[in-house]
Structure formats: structure tokens, C-alpha cells
Symmetry: C2
Subunit: 308 residues, 2 copies
């Protein structure tokens, strides 16, 4: 059913750094992305929820993708998020990503209208595929109902796989519901399922999962990638327990701001704390509590200061 092999492992929804005036800090973004690949990331799912992608204009997204590639990041390591509310926007971003050689795109469903029909969600994806009209297009569906308010049901996925078997190749499942992830792994052999949290990484790998795409990979990608490489060894359960403990410590706080606070501390770069509204930076108290709880865990973040 699949026409080629795709990258697997841990994909990082890379954080987008901002300057004090809320402009994108492009230089820090490129540095961060390259550092994640240096640490062993299987690829970069840039422009996801953790990237505050929906707080960026389309122009900003396309410019950052251009800069990444110009900066030496292999386009084949990129799975940019391109799903918007409006079909013309999704088509424009998807075309741009494909034209630049991204190996796939991560596609949110249109997420403004709620309680839409399966037929409407199917039509949304089908229109994108037909309008982009490029044999290189590979789509990873982005299922994150807690944030988007709409998602991809199993019947919709089945219908898409039947109609577009060479295009719709995988999914990021950020439902937070392992039963849903498992149901997809069982129902669609060969479909590349990435849980949206490393909490389910070992369980997914044991059932044929492709890896994970996780917010906290921004600060813990090396350990996650180690599990991908050693999941068949006896040490796997211990490593999974360590990963889960770190994840649990971080996700007690809003994920984007918490990841940024960790990098701000590790790199002595307070600028990392800037987020675009409606998100807010972590408070000093919450940051101290987060760092304290991480200090007691098996968690090693490279302390290299990158920029001040």
C-alpha cells in the first residue's frame, strides 16, 4: 500500500521563539531546529500546536521554512504543519512545503466550525489533495480534538486511506486517549501512527507505531530517541518510566510556556519565555516549581548557552 519508506522516530514540534516585541526570532528558531536534529531527532514537525503555528501568519510560516532550508536543515527532515481553517490557506502552505521538498505535511482539519460531519472533514482533506495536485504530497493527519475541537474519526480515516492510499500516510494522535491510538494501529496496518505524547511511545512501538511527535521533545528528544533505538531491549521499560515521569512533571504546566521556560533556564536566555497571546509566559513561581521537580528526575538537558 505504501509507495515508499518514510522517516520514523521522534519528531519535534519545534518551539517558535519570539523577540520582546512579539516578532519571530528567526535566528534562534533556526539554531533551535538544528540543535534538535544534532541531538538525534528523527525529524521536525515544525508549525504544530507547540510551535504556536496558529499564532503565526502564513507569510511568517513560509518565511521560516525558507530560512530553515537556507540555514542547512534538510528539507527531507521536515513535516510542517499546514492545516488552517480556510482551504486557500491550507492549499498555499501545503504547496509551499511540497515545493520545498518537505517529506510530509501535518494537517489539522479546519477547526473553526464545530460539530461538522465526517463528510465535511473528508471533503476538506480531499479538496486539499486535489488542489495541491502534486505526486510528492504526503499527508499526516493531525488529530488533536482537545485543542482543535474537531478531529478525524476512524471512518473518515478509512475513507481517506481508500481514496488516497499514496497520499494519506499517517497520523499524529494527540487525543491523549491510548485506546484511540491502539484502535488505529490495529485497524490500519502500515498507517504511520505517532502518539502525541512520549507517555505512549513504548506501547506504540510495540504495536507497530512509527514513533512519537511530542511537545516535550523540545527539551528531551535525546532520551526519547534512545527509546526508539532500544525498545526491544530489557532496559526499555525503565527508560519509558523515566520519559513518562519527565513528561508528567512538565505537563502539570501549560506545555508551550513550560518548554520555553526550561530552554530559557538551560540556555540562560530569558528571551525564550516570550509567547504570543493568547498564551502567557510561565510565572516566576511556576518556573521555579517546574525546574525543582525536573531536578529530581532523570532529565538531562544540554546546558549550552546558545544566545543570551
Amino acid at each position: 500500500m505504501r509507495i515508499d519508506r518514510h522517516p520514523r522516530g521522534v519528531f519535534v514540534p519545534a518551539l517558535t521563539p519570539f523577540q520582546r516585541d512579539l516578532a519571530v526570532d528567526a535566528e534562534r528558531f533556526v539554531t533551535h531546529c538544528k540543535s534538535l536534529l544534532d541531538e538525534g531527532a528523527g525529524g521536525l514537525a515544525v508549525f504544530g500546536t507547540t510551535s504556536e503555528a496558529n499564532s503565526l501568519s502564513n507569510g511568517e510560516r513560509m518565511h521560516l521554512l525558507d530560512l530553515l532550508i537556507a540555514g542547512g536543515v534538510a528539507a527531507g527532515a521536515l513535516m510542517p504543519g499546514t492545516g488552517c481553517c480556510a482551504l486557500p490557506d491550507t492549499v498555499a502552505l501545503t504547496r509551499h512545503a511540497v515545493a520545498h521538498g518537505a517529506f510530509g505535511v501535518l494537517l489539522l482539519p479546519p477547526f473553526y466550525y464545530k460539530s461538522v460531519s465526517d463528510d465535511g472533514i473528508y471533503a476538506s482533506v480531499a479538496e486539499v489533495i486535489q488542489r495541491v495536485a502534486d505526486a510528492r504530497l504526503r499527508i499526516y493527519l493531525y488529530h488533536i480534538p482537545p485543542m482543535a475541537g474537531v478531529g478525524f474519526s476512524l471512518p473518515v480515516i478509512e475513507r481517506l486511506l481508500k481514496a488516497f492510499p499514496a497520499v494519506v500516510v499517517g497520523i499524529k494522535d494527540s487525543s491523549g486517549d491510548w485506546n484511540h491510538t491502539r484502535a488505529m494501529l490495529e485497524a490500519f496496518p502500515g498507517f504511520e501512527v505517532f502518539p502525541g505524547s512520549e507517555t505512549y511511545l513504548l506501547d506504540a512501538l510495540r504495536r507497530g507505531g512509527a514513533g512519537c511527535i511530542s511537545a516535550t521533545a523540545n527539551v528531551n528528544v535525546a532520551a526519547m530517541q534512545r527509546l526508539v533505538e532500544t525498545w526491544m531491549t530489557p532496559a526499555a521499560d525503565t527508560l519509558q518510566a523515566q520519559l513518562s515521569a519527565v513528561r508528567a512533571a512538565i505537563q502539570r504546566f501549560p506545555l508551550v510556556s513550560a518548554n520555553k521556560a526550561i530552554l530559557a533556564d538551560a540556555q540562560s536566555a530569558p528571551g525564550w519565555n516570550v509567547v504570543r497571546p493568547p498564551l502567557r509566559p510561565l510565572s516566576a513561581e511556576a518556573t521555579a516549581e517546574l525546574l525543582r521537580s525536573l531536578a529530581s528526575l532523570e532529565f538531562v538537558l544540554r546546558k549550552t548557552p546558545v544566545t543570551a
Copy 2:
């Protein structure tokens, strides 16, 4: 507290017609908007939920606004929706609307991230106001939690009114919760509160409400406007009951597609039925049922065929 008087009455979130290939049908849009004003609409809240605005690119929205004004619609009758997920998009659309003389903008909060803080919502609006930096800017908040998944709490509104009394002048309340509408009418005298449904029009007018902004005004604006003009007469309750019955008959179906189906029938213009995904057109069966139920009510839609 208010520095000037604003238009009041029934504002129509004008439907956006599409061609078969899903391109905007600009000519039909301009014709529809002018016809709504001819029928007595107090103004046009173009680019709202009913307009499928979040299914349009920013370029499409700006182009349509340009065409409306070029086509002879008074800019002072326009309250375009300009709230997007991304701050740069909201700022661009808002600047464009203000520069073109719109009397106000209808501002959705950024609606991708859920469970955001009041502080984050406040900052979102404050950033828009500071970046647009135009004394002509008048903001109507767009509160529609069932669709957006986020809204404007009373404490946020209070804070905005205190910080920006000349800018934040009103709200469209599409919560569907009359108690919430009433709470705002009582808490913020002078704040222009528009219920998002004519079901609450008379109740709102009796408590100082500014009118309503309703999806079904696309097909029933004349009757709604009549209530605005006669709400202090003995006939008001009867007229409200008629409006509520029509609204109830239509909102048994998905509102955008149902309004389009009614216009398609009235104008013998099947092209009106086209919606962009994720919405879907009303089925033939549902359309027949809808038209049957309207036929038994006090509902008169001008039957003028406009374009085929």
C-alpha cells in the same frame, strides 16, 4: 463614556456565496449585501460565522470589502469580522477595515488554543488596539463559545472597558445564554450588546440592548428591523413570537447551509447552496422539510430572482 453614537438595529452577518469551484462569487455577494440594506438592515456584520469568514483567506476578505465599498455600500454601515487566530492577521484585517471607514470591527478572540487565561484574552485584544493605533478604531467583541471554544468573560470585558473605553464599545453575544446577555446589559450600561439571535431581540431592546446580529437576518431582516422600530408598541410581543418561530424552524438545521438553501429557493439560484468544506450543503430532503415548515409560518422572503 462613549465618544459618539453608533448605528443600532439589526446587523446581518451576510452569507458569502461561492461558485461551483468554491471560488467566492463576488458579484452575488455585493448584490446580496445591497439587497439586505435595501430591506432595512441597520448594517452588515460581514465576515462572521454565518459568512464562512474563517473559510476565507485574508486576501479574499479584504478584496470583498473593497468590492462592497466600490459597489456603493456605505463603509459606515459595515462591521466586518477581523478576529483571527494569529495576531498579525487580526491586525492586518483590522487596519484594512478601519482604513476603509468601517464604523467598527467584530473581533473573535484567538480561537485555536483552549483553556487560555483571562489575562491571555485581554492581552490579545490590547495588542490589536496598540498595533492598529488608530483613533477611529471601534471594537465589538465577538463572544461565541459554542463555536470558538473560547470567549470573553465578564471580568475581561470590564478590564477592557476600563483600559480602552473609547475603543471597546460593544459585543455580539452568541452564547445562546440569555442570562449571560442580561448580565452584560446590567453590568455595563452604555456598552452596546447585540444578542446573536433574534430570539432575544425584544428582551434585549427592553433592557437597553442595541439590536441583534443574527444569521437568519440573511432571510428575515425586514421583520426583525420592524421589531426594532416598534418594540414599544403593543404589537411587539406578537412580532417577537413570529420571529422566534421562524428562527426555531431554521435552526433545526445547520444555520449556514439552511440560510443558503432558503435563498437558493427564493431566488431560483441553486448556486447559493455551495458552501466551503468543512460545511456541507443541505440535502434535498432537509431542504424540502425546511421550506415546508417555513411555509406554515409568518415568513415572507422577497421572491425576486436575482441571478440564476
